[in-house]
């Protein structure tokens, strides 16, 4: 282990976990209201980023206006997906629903490539790429204090992601719509019989998922560039969701940050193969979570009844 690198990689890992938490939030949103795990979230993210790019670069709009428009478009896309693809699946077995979102992910991936092309494009910088923040720590290595270097865009996307998680968490906890969503996730039929319009609630949660995906997509694209592989980043968020607990909003934050941290920590190692394991670290964590505590850290344990 290169111990002197540990603080740096740990903090970078945690910061990188911010966007993962935001993506995980989009997944939990849909799961909490409709009990559907959305494998197409990555493609929503990609579409959100591509549409933002289209508005800001191709149509040369102001960046913030472009993001706003993209958010609106993606909310509509979310509604449309719920109406056209998922509503016919209501009451179908789990396998059909999983396959529907998998099919959706393939269709959207193809559509994105068909319309926008596969080239790597420059995404407008939102946060200045200028001087990184430097923090002097009290830790001493070879007679000098260790300095932590934090890239500005990492720090800011982390902050935006955390704010996003807090806002959505607040909506769920304190508004009537949020209450309705929680009730719906508990039992669809029961919620409907108390007068909740569960179709509208599904629509709203998919719309919100579209919005969260756009924000996540923009954050990822601005720090690592925009091409079609953006949709693969989401795969790191699946383990984060399971680690935090599938139905827990604070869990997405903890899960996302822990996944980021685990990826940062293995990079400290001196052994090449351990260093290179950063890309599969989320899935190693996933296997451990599944074997030890399948419901996740904050998730509700479901008791089976016949």
């Amino acid at each position: 282990m290169n111990w002197q690198l540990l603080p740096q990689f740990a903090i970078t890992g945690i910061l990188a976990g911010g966007p993962i938490a935001l993506i995980a939030l989009g997944l939990v949103l849909i799961f909490k209201s409709s009990y559907i795990f959305n494998f197409a979230q990555g493609q929503l993210l990609l579409l959100g980023a591509l549409i933002t790019w289209y508005f800001s670069i191709e149509l040369e709009l102001n960046l913030w206006l472009a993001i706003f428009l993209a958010v609106v478009v993606m909310a509509l896309v979310g509604f449309a997906i719920e109406r056209l693809a998922l509503r016919p699946m209501t009451g179908q077995p789990l396998l059909s629903i999983i396959l529907m979102t998998l099919g959706l992910s393939q269709a959207l991936q193809g559509l994105a490539l068909l319309i926008f092309g596969g080239s790597q494009r420059n995404f407008p910088q939102i946060f200045s790429a200028g001087d990184p923040y430097k923090i002097l720590t009290p830790l001493i290595h070879e007679g000098k204090n260790i300095t932590l270097i934090l890239k500005q865009n990492l720090v800011w996307s982390f902050i935006v992601a955390i704010i996003g998680v807090i806002i959505i968490g607040g909506i769920f906890q304190y508004t009537r719509t949020g209450l309705a969503m929680r009730a719906t996730s508990e039992d669809h039929e029961l919620a409907q019989s108390t007068g909740l319009r569960i179709r509208r609630i599904f629509g709203i949660s998919w719309g919100m998922a579209g919005v969260v995906a756009t924000v996540g997509g923009v954050l990822l694209a601005t720090s690592s560039g925009l091409d079609l592989s953006l949709s693969l980043v989401v795969l790191a968020a699946f383990p984060a969701v399971l680690l935090g607990g599938l139905d827990s909003i604070p869990g997405t934050m903890v899960g996302g940050l822990m996944i980021g941290l685990s990826q940062g920590l293995v990079k400290v190692s001196k052994v090449a193969i351990v260093r290179n394991s950063a890309e599969i670290m989320p899935f190693v964590v996933l296997m451990i979570v599944l074997l030890i505590r399948p419901e996740g850290l904050f998730g509700q344990k479901r008791i089976e009844r016949i």
């Binding site: 999983i98 998998l102 393939q106 596969g118 290179n276 599944l290 074997l291």
Partner: protein, 353 residues
């Protein structure tokens, strides 16, 4: 599924009751069909033979997935990862140890099966969606392992060049010869899959799928049978992976990827879950649709000139995704169900029911 038999046909012995092929004309039809398949390379052109070869290998992988997902109800999106295991093991055995392909393929199947057992272990504790995630983990961990571990043997991300299989002095070095290897393997795997599905093992699988708690109460050992399902699925994947690796003569960590896993699952759904015909129908139809995407690419290039370069990569997932979604909405029981309806209608003609 109640077996529909025409009026006037009786089972006069147990063997006849269990027989899959009951009438003389059915034997005739089967033999004619096999003769047609085996003489295909004589008159069909190279690209069709190559397509048949690809479909055959896909059917084997889907048959394995059918045992796990269709019969046992354990959803797996890691089938392609076990194909990677099979491909690598068979490539290493033939290349480095000089084994015959005839010995290397079963060894590859066994090796893939053991890896499948390991990734089936979470099925002890979790099910449904959570188990899907464990198979997704396999889909990432296994290709990573082939890229990073033992670079002097596995050759990292470059992958391995695989030798042409030689059996009894015959080199299977072109699609028109290789197709015999694929078809023969396919016939054997089909017979095994069909017999598993109607034996004690298959009935236990179905019991677990339909209600795992009830199955356990009836004395079906859940863990044992779930692991057996994982093992069998991975064995089939190993055979398919080994065939594909020797067909392509190259294998790396990207030869079988996540999209392939999704594709195999999609084939199963299009064909019909939990039916032996489904695996065959689904693989054929989806492979044909993907072939159609490739063929229709020039037409789409005129519509979307911006994407000219990546058109095939764009159309394949697009066509496949929409096919899968439409099947899920309009015919979730798949083509095998349509086939049953068609057979029933034929038997009852001219009456409607």
């Amino acid at each position: 599924m109640a077996i529909q038999r025409p009026a006037g046909e009786f089972d006069f012995s147990y063997a006849y009751d269990m027989a899959t092929i009951r009438r003389r004309w059915q034997w005739l039809a089967l033999l004619l069909f096999l003769a047609l398949l085996y003489t295909l390379p004589l008159y069909a052109n190279q690209s069709i033979v190559s397509l048949v070869n690809r479909i055959g290998i896909a059917i084997i992988a889907v048959q394995g997935l059918n045992l796990l997902t269709g019969y046992t109800g354990q959803i797996s999106i890691g089938q392609a990862a076990f194909m990677t295991v099979g491909g690598y093991i068979s490539a290493l055995l033939v290349n480095d140890l000089g084994w015959s392909f005839l010995a290397a393929m079963p060894a590859a199947a066994l090796g893939a099966g053991l890896v499948g057992l390991f990734f089936g272990l979470p099925s002890l504790r979790v099910k449904g969606f959570y188990l899907t995630m464990a198979t997704l983990a396999a889909q990432f961990i296994i290709p990573w392992f082939t890229r990073q571990a033992f670079p002097e043997i596995l050759n990292g991300a470059q992958g391995l060049n695989v030798q042409v299989p030689v059996i009894f002095g015959i080199e299977f070095n072109e699609p028109s010869k290789y197709v015999y290897l694929t078809l023969t393997t396919l016939i054997i795997t089909t017979i095994i899959a069909h017999n598993i599905s109607r034996s004690r093992l298959g009935r236990a699988f179905v019991a677990i799928r339909d209600n795992d708690l009830a199955a356990e109460l009836l004395g079906v050992n859940l863990f044992k049978y779930k692991l057996q399902a994982f093992f069998l699925a991975a064995v089939y994947a190993g055979i398919a992976g080994s065939l594909m690796a020797h067909h392509l003569r190259h294998i790396n960590s990207e030869t079988f990827n996540l999209v392939d896993s999704i594709l195999l699952l999609g084939m199963l759904v299009v064909g019909g879950l939990g039916t032996n015909m489904g695996a065959i129908f689904g693989a054929i139809v989806v492979e044909l649709i993907i072939e159609g995407a490739t063929l229709s690419a020039p037409f789409f290039v005129e519509l979307f000139p911006a994407t000219a370069a990546g058109m095939i990569q764009a159309l394949r997932p697009l066509f496949f995704g929409f096919t899968l979604m439409l099947f899920l909405i309009f015919e979730p029981r798949g083509l095998a169900h349509r086939w049953q309806l068609l057979k029933a209608a034929w038997r009852l003609r001219p009456f409607s029911h």
